[in-house]
Symmetry: C2
Subunit: 150 residues, 2 copies
Amino acid sequence: MTSIAEKTVLDRADSLCRARGVRLTAQRRRVLAILCASARPLGAYEILDAMREGSRALAPPTVYRALDFLLEQGLVHKLESLHAFVGCNHPEHPHSSQFLICNSCGEVTELEDEAIARSLGSAASMSGFQPQRRVVEVIGTCAGCAQKGR
Amino acid sequence: MTSIAEKTVLDRADSLCRARGVRLTAQRRRVLAILCASARPLGAYEILDAMREGSRALAPPTVYRALDFLLEQGLVHKLESLHAFVGCNHPEHPHSSQFLICNSCGEVTELEDEAIARSLGSAASMSGFQPQRRVVEVIGTCAGCAQKGR
DNA sequence: GTACGAGACGTTATATTGTATCCAACGGCT
DNA sequence: AGCCGTTGGATACAATATAACGTCTCGTAC
């Protein structure tokens, strides 16, 4: 199932990479497509399984290398608390997002909240700390699941 | 080396657990002591190695079970981005802390910043999300290492 | 004091996640 | 064509975490 939204994400990834002078190869594009097509975050080995379908066998390093590239380019994010990966909603500008992770239905929402970013930044600078990477994940119950009483 | 500070942490853990009607057994106390004695976060297998010294061999589940208990009681925290654990500075009240992790010297600072907690909370409630656990880790360069030009 | 039950622990095996290494294939360049 | 840097294939392995099951221990009730 290739939705229109997914297609534009891939197209945008193409132009982004061209503009940056890096190569979105077939393998990398494939990993990104799999992540974008999934409603949920996927583990590296789930991606591996998805890539194996209909094609020859692949090994873990293939997926991890593609993921490393996509992470560097900001095209995907890693959810540390899940050991899983998601496609990014808005890869054009560098950003540090936050994630709401429902442990009932598995849904993940990517936020880009200025207030959180600011409070994190000022807490860091008060300590003289220079941030490079931010991991902000809130695990809990999403609105839908809360209503259903789960 | 058993510092005074470490001793009071263990003593406070004892009384906390007694007050809560849960058992801080010898194994659990040992894991907590090892974590508190360490200047850095420790992986589960590092704790396991430390516990093996001078005593009989232990298996991973022993350590993971002790860690699960200590996490539940808020006596230790898990650093998801490092797959490692640290003793908590102030276990008396339930809290969601934030961590500054220096990737040069490995030092970890636990913060309890109200502004961050508030901004996270309001972002979650705007989405109708009910938080249960918060993972906030900022990876970067600490003040000391930044000065040394690392 | 003894029997019971829940929780804690020991032990083995295994699942899951992630890397090191080395070599082959490809692509752009001169 | 020949060179060289990047990408990918393949094997092996390291690191992190859990399942399953039996045994022991401790508090409690009788």
